[in-house]
């Protein structure tokens, strides 16, 4: 196995920061339900969930240290997911 292919070791400090970030975002996603956003409430919750998924994929699942192809594939999935939600909200926002 060449040096480039060796697994990247992420420091405990980084993991700790990401964990704290995820906990903060979870609290925020609960907190935002106290604000009246009507049909955008679900959108707000999904935005927080998407940011959290990004951190999990990027750091915990090592996408940051992987080949660019995999990052592009994950990005494509995110964009597709976003597009599907956008089309769904065309119904919800205009009902």
């Amino acid at each position: 196995m060449s040096s480039e292919e060796k697994h990247h070791i992420v420091s405990y400090k980084t993991y700790l920061f990401i964990l704290l970030g995820l906990i903060t975002l979870t609290l925020l996603s609960v907190g935002i339900t106290n604000i009246e956003l009507r049909e955008y409430t679900v959108a707000a919750a999904l935005i927080f969930a998407a940011i959290k998924s990004y951190f999990v994929l990027y750091y915990f699942m090592h996408l940051k240290y992987d080949k660019p192809l995999y990052r592009r594939m994950a990005m494509f999935v995110f964009l597709l997911f976003f597009a599907v939600l956008f089309v769904t909200f065309i119904d919800y926002v205009n009902r």
């Binding site: 597709l80 599907v84 089309v87 769904t88 065309i90 119904d91 205009n94 009902r95």
Partner: protein
């Protein structure tokens, strides 16, 4: 899978027999509801979605790209076991609990969590089957990325492989959505959470969104591999390079992508917003373009070709006819004004079966007759094969074409009974079902007999140019003694 298909076919024949005359013929309303639900579950989740990828994808994908096997053979086996477990759970819903499910294969909320019938096993079975689909999709994507033989660039891959690639992405990305949706139905039934219940702040239209976000792309899981099969058969029997190779690839991937954004055309009468209706109708018309490109390219390939009229080509031509009828009738359903009138009528049943049975089913039988010599190392009796095809084709059209008429004069679908003015067309349709079943059994028996007693097949009986025609018939366990290498001028359709 063949046994399950015969069960599904028998249920379909029973429904058509019930509709032979107004009033109760052989079953009442509740039995009819249960019959079309089980028919749908078996045909969609157990036959049409996994059919072409599982049978021909697993067999031919590695050979077509010059590989010894798929990337993860054990994952492949796991997919098969998941399929068996899912099928067992789904079908078990018929035999215990409070009676067979009666919602239709779409499990629409709120009825699916309010009905007293045995819904949980049916929904759970569909949920488990989704994993089989996801695992196969993942396996195919990795196989195509990693195991192509030396010299096989992306634009030297056979079109069936491209169609499996597009299909695999849909399997991987869309199936989890229906998985989550079905879990929500289970939770709704067991814990009364209220996702889809307006009384608890839920939204029943959300169910339809979630269900069709998967289930419309699932139509492309069904039809893309079918189109891939036709794209293999036509150049082989035209002895000619396929017209617009790259255009077909682009249209395949365009269908796979745009197909994600048209689900709302199943919901035009659900109470969606007007803006959403216009958007989905526009997107629906857009997705027809790449399908039309393919049909144009197939016809252009046949133009001025040295056509070799053999059974697989007859199936491909039959496919093109029924697929065009299904596709053009889909335009009537994609347009808002006509859909409001035709929604939930027999017209929809006719359209759906022209696409899914006529499209995927005919392509499956075409693939069977195309690759049969390679799979079994024996030839089939062409005369019986052609006879079965002609009878089945006539029966198919007699069965489903009257449904367009019945829908247009107002006969609703999913009712065991109907008004007297619908009687004549229903008699024709029911008799068509008998003719079609006769044709199918001729085809089936001929293939079974030929697999045992047929004349030995040559390595390349159709003079094809793809890699499966370079290995013995049937192929050895690991396909190739030595991994092939493609040269500059080699390609899947290089007929000279």
């Amino acid at each position: 899978m063949m046994a399950l298909f015969i069960v599904g076919l028998s249920l379909g024949l029973a429904m058509k027999f019930e509709l032979l005359a107004p009033g109760k013929t052989i079953m009442g309303a509740q039995d009819y509801n249960a019959t079309f639900t089980l028919h749908g579950i078996i045909m969609i989740f157990l036959i049409v979605v996994p059919g072409l990828p599982a049978v021909f994808g697993n067999f031919f994908l590695p050979i077509l790209i010059g590989a010894k096997d798929v990337a993860f053979p054990k994952l492949n086996l796991l997919s098969w076991w998941i399929y068996i477990v899912g099928a067992t759970i789904a079908i078990s819903s018929q035999f215990f609990g409070d009676g067979p499910p009666d919602t239709g294969w779409t499990f629409y909320a709120p009825y699916s969590f309010k009905t007293g019938t045995n819904m949980l096993p049916a929904v759970l079975g569909a949920f488990v089957l989704g994993f089989s689909s996801i695992v196969t999709g993942l396996n195919f994507i990795v196989t195509i990325h990693r195991l192509r033989c030396p010299g096989m660039g992306w634009f030297k891959m056979p079109l069936f492989v491209w169609s499996l690639y597009g299909t695999a992405w849909i399997q991987l990305l869309a199936t989890p959505i229906v998985g989550i949706t079905l879990v929500m139905v289970i939770l709704e039934r067991t814990l009364n959470i209220g996702f889809f219940d307006p009384a608890l702040g839920g939204d029943p239209i959300l169910y339809q969104h979630l269900f069709w976000i998967y289930s419309h792309p699932a139509v492309y899981i069904m039809i893309l591999p079918a189109m891939g099969v036709i794209s293999e058969i036509i150049p082989t029997f035209s002895q000619k390079h396929i017209f617009g190779y790259k255009a077909i690839i682009i249209s395949t991937m365009a269908i796979a992508f745009v197909g994600y954004f048209v689900w709302g055309h199943h919901m035009f009468t659900s109470g969606m917003s007007g803006t959403a209706l216009y958007t989905f109708s526009l997107l629906t018309f857009l997705v027809a373009i790449p399908s039309a490109i393919k049909v144009f390219n197939w016809v252009a390939t046949l133009h001025k070709a040295s056509i070799n009229l053999k059974t697989p080509l007859y199936w491909a031509l039959a496919f093109m006819f029924v697929f065009m009828v299904g596709g053009l009738s889909g335009m009537a359903l994609g347009a808002l004004a006509t859909d409001v009138y035709l929604h939930d009528t027999a017209f929809v049943v006719g359209h759906f079966h022209y696409i899914v049975f006529g499209g995927t089913g005919f392509a499956f039988l075409g693939a069977m007759h195309y690759w049969f010599p390679k799979m079994y190392g024996r030839m089939y009796d062409a005369q019986w094969a052609n006879t079965g095809l002609v009878i089945m084709f006539i029966g198919f059209n007699a069965l489903y074409a009257p449904m367009f008429y019945l829908g247009m004069i107002g006969m609703p679908r999913r009712y065991f009974d109907y008004l007297p003015q619908f009687h004549a067309a229903n008699i024709l349709s029911t008799m068509g079902s008998w003719v079609m079943a006769t044709g199918f059994f001729i085809v089936l028996i001929n293939l079974i007999r030929s697999s045992r007693n047929g004349a030995p097949a040559e390595v390349d009986p159709w003079h094809g140019k793809t890699l499966e025609w370079t290995v013995p018939s049937p192929p050895p366990v690991l396909n190739f003694d030595e991994i092939p290498t493609l040269g500059e001028d080699d390609g899947p359709y290089e007929y000279k």
